[in-house]
């Protein structure tokens, strides 16, 4: 009986962890593209909100989840375009533009939500869980890992796809070189500016997709400021994973695990820990993660430095 409980506990926690980690995975994998090309986008928190809102609004209007996700990705690309304009073309400080983007994301989505959705109060259809045949029938872990919705599964695929694109295609090779030695890319005739634009837009659209996951596949409502710092945690995940997409998947999972764990622990009244101490855990963990992985070596060499054509 004891064993049974422990296994259930594990399985449940794992399932919750993956679900919780999913938006962070998308945002972190996206940010890895951006940072690998030498651009630091701290505006992904705002970008995620924009994705969450646009996805929600579109699905609410059209009733189609697919359209919702598509619109969210498109909105993410537009946001990325704006960020790229300022940081790559105008060469403005990337941190400052990121701060502005976060304010804009929060302000715009809240403004539009209050303007248009104040009287509806309704949710959108939720994405159904997909039960993977056979595997979902496994005891304990079947429920945990193989009865999630498609976007959750996709997060694993996206992580591996990102690894493939970054490390197994000529595009990825050039993108990584852009963050390391842009001049070396420029002399091969490729445009550093174009690659940075591309990397930022990939990053932003993935962040927006992660945001849309919250409204379309996790809960079916938009709530102001609902990303709740996930974008910033994703930034730390990127450092902790040493700019590796698959690494980011597992690091995000650890964050999700802690997040799920704090809810589990709260439900055990006997522990007597103030619930706030548990709530703070993911944030403290983020700081610890940065402390323990403090070598600058892995960071793209020109991260944060605007590229000046000779």
């Amino acid at each position: 009986m004891e064993h049974f409980n422990l296994l259930v506990f594990l399985a449940v926690t794992l399932a919750a962890a993956w679900q919780t980690a999913t938006p962070i995975i998308y945002a972190a994998v996206g940010e890895i593209f951006t940072e690998r090309a030498g651009v630091l986008n701290i505006g992904i928190e705002g970008t995620m909100l924009i994705g969450a809102f646009v996805g929600f609004a579109t699905t609410d209007l059209t009733g189609s989840l697919a359209l919702g996700f598509t619109a969210a990705i498109a909105a993410g690309m537009l946001t990325g375009l704006l960020f790229a304009c300022f940081t790559v073309t105008i060469k403005a400080n990337q941190v400052v533009v990121g701060v502005a983007l976060n304010l804009l994301g929060l302000g715009l989505t809240s403004f539009l939500f209050r303007t248009y959705f104040v009287h509806t109060g309704s949710g959108v259809p939720n994405m159904p869980a997909v039960h993977i045949p056979i595997l979902s029938g496994l005891p304990f872990f079947g429920v945990a890992l193989f009865q999630q919705n498609i976007i959750v599964y996709l997060s694993l695929a996206v992580a591996f796809l990102a690894r493939f694109v970054l490390f197994s295609t000529s595009f990825g090779l050039t993108l990584r070189a852009t963050g390391d030695h842009p001049e070396a890319v420029a002399i091969t005739g490729r445009s550093v500016v174009l690659y940075r634009y591309g990397a930022i837009m990939i990053g932003s659209s993935l962040a927006a997709l992660g945001g849309a996951f919250l409204t379309l596949a996790d809960v079916n409502q938009f709530v102001e400021g609902m990303t709740d710092g996930r974008g910033f945690i994703a930034l730390a995940v990127v450092v902790f994973s040493r700019w590796s997409p698959v690494g980011a998947f597992f690091v995000s999972l650890i964050f999700g695990l802690f997040y799920a764990l704090q809810l589990e622990l709260q439900a055990q009244p006997s522990l007597g820990i103030p619930y706030q101490a548990l709530q703070a855990m993911p944030y403290i963990l983020t700081i610890l993660a940065l402390v323990f992985v403090h070598n600058k070596q892995d960071a793209p060499r020109t991260l944060g430095v605007p590229y000046n054509k000779a």
Binding site: V8, R114, A129, A267
Partner: protein, 301 residues
């Protein structure tokens, strides 16, 4: 006579189902029933801004201003001194000081009934709260008392997600409770409650819940055994009508309970997968009349 005007202050957004929505609906009811001119403002969580917002309404001649939350009481008391003509209603506050009047929904009473039902029908229960604030901890206290009086030793877990907006966290909390074998889950977390109903619905009809404040049967119709509807509007209209006509000014703070069926209603959902059996309903009715009669103190202990 001057136009009758009522203002509403909330922190956060009225667009989301829950606490602020309740007050917003009440404001709209006042508008419809009393033909009042109404206005509301969504403030940020910033106590400093409360006083000036009260003042702005009061100085524009609003006769009644509802501050939706105990955190408004300090500011109301200060402003009331300068505007003796306005009434300041404060949600979930035990205040009564001149024209500053606390208005409460005693949720511990319907929650007590839910506790009774859960203890009669289930194995263990989980409560998911937004934050640890009085209306929520009181409601949870009622649930606990109801359940434990009915079945001593009945297991009850409690989680605060630390937010009224984070549906995702609410959902996660619910899922984890369900997986740990809890079969009754009741949220009190404003907008975030929705996450709990989603989780319950996805988990299947063996998990039971109650719809709290608003009707969530569209989300989890098979799981909801009963619905606690709070028609805050009806209560507010009652108080405001009294104020407007000068007929009945409350002389203490106002608390609506099961004894005010126009405001607080608890009904059964017959479409649930396992509706509440008749014998339980009968027992609950007895408890209910005892609560109304004041024989059971739902918040005691």
């Amino acid at each position: 006579a001057a136009e009758f005007k009522m203002g509403l202050l909330v922190t956060g957004s009225v667009a989301e189902n829950g606490w602020n929505r309740l007050a917003y609906d009440a404001l709209m009811t006042v508008k419809k029933k009393l033909g009042a001119k109404v206005s509301y403002v969504e403030l940020q969580q910033d106590p400093a801004s409360f006083e000036s917002a009260f003042r702005d309404y009061a100085s524009q001649g609003y006769q009644v201003i509802l501050g939706n939350g105990f955190e408004f009481q300090d500011a109301a008391v200060t402003v009331a001194k300068d505007y003796p003509d306005s009434y300041f209603l404060i949600s979930s506050s035990s205040i009564h000081q001149g024209k500053v009047i606390g208005i409460n929904l005693d949720s511990s009473q319907p929650f007590y009934l839910m506790g009774v039902i859960a203890a009669k029908m289930g194995k263990s229960a989980g409560l998911i709260g937004g934050m640890q604030i009085p209306p929520i901890s009181q409601a949870f206290g009622g649930f606990r008392n109801g359940a434990l009086t009915t079945k001593p030793g009945f297991g009850i877990g409690r989680v605060y997600i630390g937010s009224f907006e984070n549906e995702v966290a609410a959902k996660e909390a619910a899922i984890s409770m369900i997986k740990q074998g809890v079969d009754f889950i009741v949220p009190d977390a404003d907008a975030a409650s929705l996450g709990v109903y989603l989780a319950v619905h996805e988990a299947g009809p063996q998990i039971k819940t109650f719809s709290v404040y608003t009707d969530y049967s569209k989300v989890a119709g098979k799981n909801i055994l009963g619905t606690y509807i709070a028609d805050y509007g009806a209560g507010i209209v009652r108080v405001v009508t009294g104020i407007k006509n000068g007929t009945s000014i409350p002389h203490s703070n106002v608390t609506f309970g099961l004894g005010d069926p126009d405001v607080i209603r608890f009904t059964y959902n017959d479409n649930a997968a396992t509706p509440v059996p008749q014998d339980v309903r009968k027992y609950v009715d007895e408890v209910k009349s005892k609560i109304i009669a004041g024989q059971i103190k739902t918040m005691a202990g």
